[in-house]
Symmetry: C2
Subunit: 343 residues, 2 copies
DNA sequence: TTGTACGCGTTATCAC
DNA sequence: GTGATAACGCGTACAA
């Protein structure tokens, strides 16, 4: 079955293609009568406009793309949800584009930019360390949302919204210290590849130092499965590994809530109670952290504020105002039932 | 900054556009020398081919699209992951396209079909009840993966892979009955809108009937928030509502694991222990069900088998073999620590 | 091995 | 309010 084109519709309706174009694009300068006649043919024949041809000709569109790295991370779910709602509220079209782990998000952005005639781009997740010259190729405003970042972004149409991972992580470990813990393990990702783990681990080290605790590398368990980096399974396996070392620990800080949940299971398997025997803390503030039993002590990232500020900045840049495009939110240390003071 | 096109590259290199086209498409009939010369210019100037123009001309491509409804559902995560890996293993390109809750997946599919010159489509999640005539508009093979379905699909290039939601749900409730439970509540979605909840609820009713238990509509709590249908919060609120009625219950069956986790929290809040005071069962077999404490009794859907069979069928249809394109897998009733026999 | 010329399906621009 | 026509940027016969 051959696909029907705008020409076919025009022929069937005895009108020109431009008139059909007007009808399907809700143009004003067309009589209701003709429009109805055309739309009926369109419906009856299931005519589907070819987006390639459309976008090829179109000079602009009202669409914002969200490029996400690590779509299986539950932390992004509410952010995406808010971004979508807010973007649609502003009568823009929302496009979600997945970026693979080993894929370059700028390449994807560059291709998408003129493909969809984007008005703006939001990068969600990942770690940004692109050469300046490459970033300068971007022709539309973009804002990084909870993206790790090394240097400042070049150009005048970019921004970033995040929390200070180092500081927040330090806050959490500092809190554990304040509860009397000194044998604090960490479950983290490899410090070699650039990702948020690097920063959260740095916060851990700073907190230890601040509290006069010497860093013991045996207490730093590196998750190894690249595929599902922050899976509960990884947290579970890491905790098992830690327990097998026989090292004394009274608290564990996992760099994500999901890892923390996995760690809890390993502790439970070993007959250790949370928080009586071992305190467990996470990071992110997933819905799960709140509903877990016991609820998880964690750093809650203000996802709603983050998402809304991201859009606010993006639309500000789009409107031409390029000031104050960076924003760092404070995370909230929410104390749950998974941590406890020790005597 | 104006975007550079293939013509510009040709001009800079002093070659024709077709030669540039050959270079960027790794064509054979081009000398290494010219290719190198061109590619250098391409890299230096960050030339990005316009996908619209490309796809407009292209007659075919090796890409499979996965259309997912309910992307925030954790159940889909591992399926997507497997689909992606397997599709890439077969040297096809994987495209993930989100479909909004109130959006018609066939409309999306129809548009994507010729836009990307798809070889096949996989529909993930949702509920299929499209008019036959519309489905017949599909011009490429497609397979439904864990999609609720009312009638058989028309045409000769479609298939479906799923578990029997009614039977599996019945199995679970029947199991609860076998443990001595008779006051079994259910947390489910509205039976009015078509979705998996309808089927899982039906299984619940059948199990009750089989065990000679009269259905009490006060024990059927309908989640109401459409936005995040299967959120833990919804499970939590539903359980609260149930507890407030003061009705006696000894077991709860939630139609998804996430709802079950939320229900657990409400029980815990009320000082009720799981499973000593109330047994809780879920459905799906999320990673979380395994790592939750106590681990959740649930129907584990064989996601790996489901994903692989989906692809097997899809590629079978693509290859021209249109027999046995329907497959129903058995779910596994995995008994965790959240359910218990009552005296 | 390379170049020329055409057309993919649509929208924008102009004329009527 | 409607029609004719020129692009949009690229791939691909076909010619050279």
């Amino acid at each position: 079955m051959e696909r029907i084109t705008i020409k076919d519709v025009a022929r069937i309706c005895n009108v020109s293609v431009s008139t059909v174009s007007r009808a399907i694009n809700n143009s004003h300068d067309i009589s209701d009568e003709t429009r109805e006649k055309i739309m009926k043919v369109v419906r009856d024949n299931y005519f589907v406009p070819n987006n390639n041809a459309r976008n090829l000709k179109r000079t602009e569109s009202r669409t914002i793309a969200v490029l996400i790295k690590g779509i299986d991370n539950a932390f992004f779910s509410p952010i995406i949800s808010i971004l979508e709602k807010e973007i649609q509220k502003r009568k823009y079209t929302f496009v979600l584009q997945r970026v693979e782990q080993n894929q370059d998000e700028i390449d994807v952005a560059l291709a998408l930019e003129n493909e969809k005639k984007l008005k703006g781009i939001i990068f969600l997740g990942g770690y940004f360390s692109h050469p300046k010259e490459k970033l300068l190729q971007m022709t539309v405003p973009y804002v990084l949302c909870t993206v790790g970042i090394k240097d400042n972004l070049p150009g005048k149409m970019s921004g970033a919204v995040s929390v200070d991972d180092v500081a927040e992580s330090k806050k959490m470990v500092d809190y554990l210290c304040s509860l009397g813990h000194r044998d604090i393990a960490i479950i983290t990702s490899s410090p070699n590849d650039e990702n948020i783990g690097t920063m959260r681990f740095e916060g851990y080290r700073q907190a230890l130092e601040k509290n006069g605790i010497e860093f013991d590398e045996k207490l730093a368990i590196i998750i190894d499965d690249e595929q599902h980096r922050y899976s509960m399974r990884n947290g579970y396996l890491s905790m098992k590994k830690l327990l097998n070392t026989g090292k004394k620990i009274t608290a564990v800080f996992a760099i994500t809530d999901s890892l923390a949940i996995g760690a809890c299971k390993a502790l439970d398997d070993a007959g250790l109670r949370i928080p009586e025997d071992v305190s467990v803390a996470g990071y992110d503030g997933l819905e799960l952290a709140e509903y877990y039993i016991p609820s998880l002590t964690t750093i809650v990232q203000p996802v709603e504020k983050i998402a809304k500020e991201t859009l606010k900045i993006l639309f500000k840049i789009i409107a031409g105002d390029k000031t104050d495009t960076y924003k760092v939110f404070k995370g909230g240390l929410v104390v749950g039932g998974s941590t406890k003071r020790i005597k």
